[in-house]
């Protein structure tokens, strides 16, 4: 096994990877930008190397600096986390060329699955159903193809994935504008303007299968996750197992996923995303060649540490367990806490998280990226933490997540906690009656009305009274607050006399 591993990431996923490294007795090395010198992921690691200025391009995407940090710190392997360079085949190649191990799939697998058009072709070869779609060299070719597919269609970036640069359109005019906009964004984000079309399935659910391969054709699955609760194609709440499929369908979907992983001789942990139509038909969507944000729900129902499994495959070229040893029990649900203002169209927020309290009850897991006093900057993804609840039943897990969201407190930066709290308590979420567009179609309007309602009078009273009596609103001083400030509040105001003594 490796003695030292460099984590080429930041935030909660870097902290989470460091946990597993620690328990395996492996030294962890963080990289950080100049903005992240004292970030939580730096504090979570055994050592840390600065790789450049705050802009991702200059630091977390700076391949040369990261490789230099790995050499300097004596790392034998690099874990890319998710995002940043996790699905960059050039990075994987550079890591291997430097004589280090890339903890992830082979570069050719990243390439093959990174081009979503190529991935569709491979899936078809492996016998997986795909959503009707079309490729096209330019706007006009796609406009013609769309006439055959039939509206509505989705416009997707070929090198995109995860909802990035994706738009749904219902007519030709919108298609032209969407294709142009998507090409521009794709060019800037992925360095390649290519886009493709897929038929838009209505009322479909997002189900994905976690797979693990040995890189030699052996592959197993760790059941499915359901991630249908999305806003603008970004997952918000994920769970495992899916409440929408029965054991027979589960068997077919997981078998299809394993077939694809075996066909590409997949190495390490990967996820095969599918759409489930209301009739029960499922379609390959894309394969993510990395650890997913939502991997904890799989870990909680299987008891398996996926990062440990990734390290095992990377170090030995073998799977750490057999398909038979992967059992599931209970239910797990995850909510992603973002620095976003749900009252203002979910605009990303930045600032200092002055007071942070994460829940810590039984069966609640928090994968945190910040603690009290930490900075939330504009440079990086605004996800602050993930709260994950486990329970013997879906209902207990869901109400546990609701309580964990209630108990979570982030003051100093506006977060989407009010959105998550309302969402997880919604009747449709309680009964698992939703699809990938349900949030925008049915939930958001009512929620927005709630968010723009005036704050209760008590909230204003609390703010004003805190100021008037000088009660500490500084989290650093809370523990040493005076034992009885309540009696001094009139001294502070200097206005009060006891009625009996006259005015």
């Amino acid at each position: 096994m490796f003695r030292t591993v460099l984590i080429a990431n930041r935030g909660e996923i870097a902290c989470r990877i460091a946990s597993t490294l620690h328990e395996m007795g492996i030294r962890s090395v963080a990289i950080h930008s100049e903005a992240d010198r004292s970030a939580l992921h730096v504090r979570a690691c055994d050592d840390a190397v600065c790789v450049g200025p705050p802009e991702p391009r200059a630091s977390y995407l700076n391949i040369d600096a990261i490789l230099a940090a790995a050499q300097q710190s004596g790392a034998q392997a690099i874990h890319p986390g998710y995002g940043f360079l996790a699905e960059n085949a050039g990075f994987a190649r550079a890591v291997e060329a430097a004589g280090l191990v890339f903890i992830g799939p082979a570069p050719e697998q990243i390439d093959a699955m990174g081009d979503k058009r190529a991935a569709r072709r491979i899936a078809i070869e492996a016998g997986l159903p795909v959503v009707p779609g079309a490729e096209g060299a330019d706007v006009e070719a796609l406009v013609i193809a769309a006439r055959t597919i039939g509206y509505p269609v989705m416009v997707k970036a070929a090198l995109g994935g995860g909802g990035k640069g994706m738009r749904a359109v219902s007519d030709e005019a919108a298609l032209r504008e969407a294709v142009e906009s998507a090409m521009r964004l794709a060019k800037s984000a992925f360095g390649d303007a290519a886009v493709y079309l897929e038929k838009r399935l209505e009322h479909a659910r997002h189900i994905e299968v976690q797979v693990l391969g040995d890189g030699k054709g052996g592959a197993i699955h760790l059941f499915e996750r359901e991630c249908s609760l999305q806003r603008r194609h970004q997952k918000v709440i994920e769970e495992a197992p899916s409440a929408a499929i029965d054991d027979a369908l589960r068997e077919r979907m997981t078998a299809a996923a394993v077939r694809l992983a075996q066909k590409v001789r997949y190495r390490g942990a990967g996820t095969i995303e599918m759409l489930l139509a209301p009739g029960g038909e499922f379609y390959f969507l894309e394969m993510n060649t990395r650890l997913q944000v939502e991997h904890p729900v799989t870990e909680l129902i299987t008891g398996i540490d996926l990062v440990r499994a990734q390290l095992h495959v990377a170090a030995t070229g073998t799977l750490p367990f057999t398909q038979d040893q992967v059992r599931r029990h209970g239910h797990a649900i995850e909510a992603r806490v973002y620095a976003e203002d749900a009252a203002r169209n979910f605009l990303p927020q930045a600032g200092t998280a002055r007071r942070v309290r994460w829940p810590d009850g039984p069966f609640v897991r928090v994968d945190r990226g910040i603690d009290s006093g930490d900075q939330v900057t504009v440079h990086y993804d605004p996800m602050l933490a993930k709260l994950i609840a486990f329970g013997p039943t879906r209902e207990i897990a869901r109400t546990r997540l609701a309580a964990a969201l209630d108990a979570a407190l982030v003051h100093g930066v506006v977060t989407n906690l009010p959105f998550l709290r309302a969402l997880v308590r919604n009747e449709a979420v309680a009964s698992a009656s939703f699809d990938t567009e349900w949030i925008e179609r049915e939930f958001l309007a009512g929620f927005s009305a709630l968010m723009t309602a005036p704050a209760p009078e008590l909230a204003l009273a609390a703010a004003a009274i805190s100021e008037a009596i000088g009660v500490s609103t500084d989290p650093d001083r809370t523990a040493t607050a005076s034992a009885s400030p309540a009696t001094s509040l009139f001294e502070a105001l200097g206005r009060w006399r006891h009625p009996g003594l006259g005015e």
């Binding site: 009252a343 003051h411 704050a455 009078e457 909230a459 204003l460 009273a461 703010a463 008037a468």
Partner: protein, 165 residues
């Protein structure tokens, strides 16, 4: 005999007046409604508020003029207004501000251009999201202060519009 303060609550400006009635007891006016309240500072820094509806625990964190208020299990963000309602002023002058921290990716108009309502003027990108700043009404671009590549904070003026002559 009372302390007055004004607080921004989303798009609203709200007035609070506190009158001490006795140790830990207050008469509170919020906008047009008036009620009595007992407030006790708990040793852990929270505030125990009791009125005829029952008891609620509040926790207030200051961040500059902002107050993050936890009330029971709900969160609110208020902003202390020093004097009057300054923020409302900007909109009157036709200024269009960055709605979020991010990078200006495209400026789609030039000073002097006539624009129609809803026309995209500037694109700001943060993470996976491109946000278009559109003209709130027809008019003419008076001034452009944003340039592609600029990093902007929320509230940074990007474009100034004037009514068509």
């Amino acid at each position: 005999m009372s302390a007055k303060s004004t607080w921004r609550d989303g798009e609203r400006s709200r007035a609070v007046e506190l009158e001490p009635l006795g140790p830990g007891r207050w008469r509170v006016r919020v906008d047009d409604s008036m009620f009595e309240l007992a407030a006790e500072a708990m040793p852990d820094g929270r505030l125990r508020l009791t009125n005829d509806q029952g008891t609620t625990i509040a926790e207030v964190t200051a961040d500059g003029a902002k107050r993050f208020v936890r009330l029971g299990r709900l969160d609110f963000v208020l902003e202390r207004e020093a004097a009057g309602r300054r923020r409302a002023a900007a909109a009157h002058h036709g200024g269009l501000e960055a709605p979020m921290p991010g990078a200006v990716t495209r400026v789609m108009v030039a000073a002097g251009d006539a624009v129609v309502q809803g026309q995209p003027l500037v694109a700001v990108e943060a993470m996976k999201m491109e946000h278009l700043i559109r003209a709130p009404r027809a008019g003419r671009v008076k001034k452009i202060t944003a340039r592609a590549g600029d990093m902007v904070a929320p509230g940074t003026a990007l474009v100034e519009l004037e009514d068509e002559a």
